[in-house]
Subunit: 349 residues, 4 copies
Amino acid sequence: MRARRKTGPTAGATLVEIPVPRPGPGEVLIEVAAASICGTDLHIYRWDRWAAGRIQTLPMTFGHEVAGTVVATGPEVHHIERGAFVSAEGHLFCGFCRLCRSGRMHICENLRILGVDLDGGFADYVILPERNTWEVDPRIPPDVASIHDPFGNAVHTIFNGGDTSDVATSAVVVLGCGPIGLFAVGVARAVGARQVVAVEPNEYRQDLAKRMGADLVVDPSKEDPVAAVLEATGGHGAEVVLEMSGVGEVIAQGTRMLARGGRMSLLGLPSDPVTLDLTDQVIFKEARILGVTGREIFRTWQQMTTLLATGMVDVTPVITHRFPLERFEEAFDVMASGRSGKVILLPHT
Amino acid sequence: MRARRKTGPTAGATLVEIPVPRPGPGEVLIEVAAASICGTDLHIYRWDRWAAGRIQTLPMTFGHEVAGTVVATGPEVHHIERGAFVSAEGHLFCGFCRLCRSGRMHICENLRILGVDLDGGFADYVILPERNTWEVDPRIPPDVASIHDPFGNAVHTIFNGGDTSDVATSAVVVLGCGPIGLFAVGVARAVGARQVVAVEPNEYRQDLAKRMGADLVVDPSKEDPVAAVLEATGGHGAEVVLEMSGVGEVIAQGTRMLARGGRMSLLGLPSDPVTLDLTDQVIFKEARILGVTGREIFRTWQQMTTLLATGMVDVTPVITHRFPLERFEEAFDVMASGRSGKVILLPHT
Amino acid sequence: MRARRKTGPTAGATLVEIPVPRPGPGEVLIEVAAASICGTDLHIYRWDRWAAGRIQTLPMTFGHEVAGTVVATGPEVHHIERGAFVSAEGHLFCGFCRLCRSGRMHICENLRILGVDLDGGFADYVILPERNTWEVDPRIPPDVASIHDPFGNAVHTIFNGGDTSDVATSAVVVLGCGPIGLFAVGVARAVGARQVVAVEPNEYRQDLAKRMGADLVVDPSKEDPVAAVLEATGGHGAEVVLEMSGVGEVIAQGTRMLARGGRMSLLGLPSDPVTLDLTDQVIFKEARILGVTGREIFRTWQQMTTLLATGMVDVTPVITHRFPLERFEEAFDVMASGRSGKVILLPHT
Amino acid sequence: MRARRKTGPTAGATLVEIPVPRPGPGEVLIEVAAASICGTDLHIYRWDRWAAGRIQTLPMTFGHEVAGTVVATGPEVHHIERGAFVSAEGHLFCGFCRLCRSGRMHICENLRILGVDLDGGFADYVILPERNTWEVDPRIPPDVASIHDPFGNAVHTIFNGGDTSDVATSAVVVLGCGPIGLFAVGVARAVGARQVVAVEPNEYRQDLAKRMGADLVVDPSKEDPVAAVLEATGGHGAEVVLEMSGVGEVIAQGTRMLARGGRMSLLGLPSDPVTLDLTDQVIFKEARILGVTGREIFRTWQQMTTLLATGMVDVTPVITHRFPLERFEEAFDVMASGRSGKVILLPHT
């Protein structure tokens, strides 16, 4: 089979022919219908400092946002059958640590990530533990099925451990409109935000934010986003700020546009420590700063199924590009250009 | 001034001329622009068993769903000024009991109700404590302003003590589509219910439920509502059931259509004790049965302002009739007929 | 091996010799060190109406509160090893229904119960799925290890889906002081209840309630428990009522002793429908009535380990009797007498 | 009357004779029985950068932790009567902003602080709005009554917006054992923490932490507190970290000793921005960082009354010094020395 692999510790990725792997105990083999590209994949592709420090073994096939058809099952597989069309939960959890055993598998103490710690989905086939598969609702088309992972990040960020009480009727700011931020705009809209403000410097993505339902799009290269949010909220600030940029300065701005008693969720990953005015912007405001990672296994998937299958959120504007596996470099170039939403690889078309 | 008063312990109400009352310490005088009729008012009008046992002093002007203009203020009034257009929170709370002091004024231990325990709003003017007034957003028209009270019941029922997490992406059933049930359909829709099922035997109200956004309207006189809800939810039951009928048998049905782990909120007031299968329908399901009364003071009002002023919920289909104060009997007849949504009295038009 | 089996649809249980079972895929074989007797077992022993309707296949070994040593493992067992000392989570869940997949395995849609739907632990050996085992903290002795199941009922009832906020500093009433009620007294004490009131007619158990830390024990055969709780709480009622009796009339009393805004958890299983005054005791009070069953898998077990292993709760007063497997009838007689707390069978001593 | 006033923008405070003030509308006059000294008072006394920037008008009597007897009431006072013994809620709220109207008066948008924005309690008498008084339970002695304010900070930090679920059965770290940290040790103990670890460099306060119930006291000048907490928690980290030091570096340490999924509450006020490793210590851990200020009005006071009046928390070890108003400088010296817990002024003894 073909696989896009990281063969050495340098930029780029090679299309190689390797044997189709065989599923072990509890595993299934998936024929990849669609694999979308994540920002993490761009780090690995470029082999930056983070990737060099994080990736343990080479060669490795990367890609973790995958959907496809189960074509073989290993021993000890009891529920999923051949022919099932599934999407991948890329967080492989141990199932026995104290976090797994209290229902928080997504922050398992022994977490391994598909396409980072083991071979992923930029290939014709991928192996996945049965318990990491989610059968896709038939109303959801294959390419959309591949974005469950990042869409789930957005849904989990909004739902905040099961609680959307602070989103419904609130002013919600989304900082950074990459695909996850764009999804978050749509989800906030769907669950009753009063007002959705998107902050994004890239014009292409500003346009997508509007199409996803943002009431106001602020260009931080042209105006002060803190002032813009305060003005849009009558001086009170936003009850909810969703941080998707991972930029330290933007995170600090987020705290300043937050209303008293507000909630700021951090999903974007800053590469350096971040300096915050805790006294005035967090403590006296009694603000809540919530780290968010992955998505709840599988509650978020149940919520996603509803949002995607019923049409409550239409993610199609965000999916801007589709490429065959051969045009991998082109796909990464488009993604790096910023003139794209979600870029999807379709190995078998 | 004119006032529709209960002058004796019999059915009906008399239009009398009485002096305009003077606001005492902390009170304001409101010129009534609109007063809508509640089911409670119908009980008082008919002077049924409940009314005879509940109303302590006669004569009394009834009506508690009121909006109008502040035309005079008493001593000790510090915030509201003449000319303000306000809606009435009809739950008069003591402010000093342990519930008031922990932010739950709506279940104050010393609660008094406007139009039940003291003179209400079916009149040209009404007296209200300043702290029971809510300045109406100018985007909300006067007749809509008068339905804050029942709309707030619906919003508070949905928001469930600040938590809509179980409504967003869930199947929600509304049992009984009087005005509060109809509002609940619209609010559930606005905050991201996956599916809204209305159960209502009255055809006129079935039609209103559809207009408020119900996906499915079940006529319990024609089909078994429990079977209908189970079928509509793939056999799982509804995650959220909102009980607005106050009928014992319907409440019992509600528990049977509830999903495992679901929530049923009770707002409708049964006149007799209710018999429930707690073991199978509540305990083994680990269901939550939540009593709901009034609305949070004033968090629910903030939420209502958003929902009404931004157009997230359009309540105008529910407001079906408007009458001058003189045509009071006609208004009550229309309301009793069941061929109505909300019926509003407009004293000064 | 020896097993106490229900061999036919009549009262009693027979001690028979049967082959030691072999663990299948994902299963382990446990040598039973201690098996405690639950009220459910008494129903099965007596073969009452409930048992006759519930038990599907005979013969069957009953008993589900079990602890012991893993002596063999089947295929597909990956974590637990021979020699581990484990306690049994008796709720066998499917792992793939929508409730299992959202972390609520204890209310799985396909739940099977150890000792009810399949052979249980009143025997020398018992088979259990690996994922239903919990390794017992070495600070907890074997007989105490066997009461994780009912102790977990108490802990789960108190923790109420992860929230003890209404127990700390509150007045807590425990209705019915069988073993679970007695455990609840101790747990309420340990997590900061202001006042723990136990309601129990049996003098032997009243004494145990005092030993577990009850501030006040009310004998409902001698005084009105509603009046007693109101008096003990300055007329306000208790913020938390934990119903462990399963008696309809007691449940109704529970609602009447509940404070405004209070919470009543129902764990006891009434055998008939229960009639409640919902209007005055639930709706106007804005009370929460919460069904409770089983225990969270495995969050409750983590909490239990802390409570038992650190000595925060001392359950030893509740364990009043220990018998070898031969003296089974005697054990059931003691249990039926009411002059007992928890009765434990020790097959291998 | 005598008052300790800040008469000019320099260090120190003058004991002056001024007329007894008269209570205005809604206000009461309190004869001060006890006034305890807060760290904030030390800032004002020393007239540091913060004080110089914060205090708007001089002269001003400072001190906000006050208890005493109501000796006169102004007009518009309806509940509190002469002779009542009250403690002061020092956060004067407007009652009409959106935060006040949703039950969060302690983060009112128009907050004024007793002894900072208006004359406080280091005097024979102090004026307070009636609605800022709390009648003290008679079981609580006068000097203890004066520490409701800082004790309430601790209680509010632990109760975390009404939720102690993460404290019960958890490992709790208290960073910084000034009086509030010491109180927090006692409260964590009372509501069921599994383990309470205090981190404090001052030996005098280490000893007080042990007396308040800390299981382990870590001296950060002698060992790495992060390593110590990880070791004490089997490498998992603490589920709850309560930050009372206000030192940036300590806050950063707090995030590193926090367990996955843990909660860190920030009450101490850092004077400069703080640099945090958000990616590894907050986001990947899915940690919650919660700002905390003041105390809930009056829910925290209800909780405090229970904790203090029933003896669930004994705060007397923390109250180490008592002085008459004349020995004010001595009191501040003791407090600045670090060899003290809470220092209380007793004007009328």
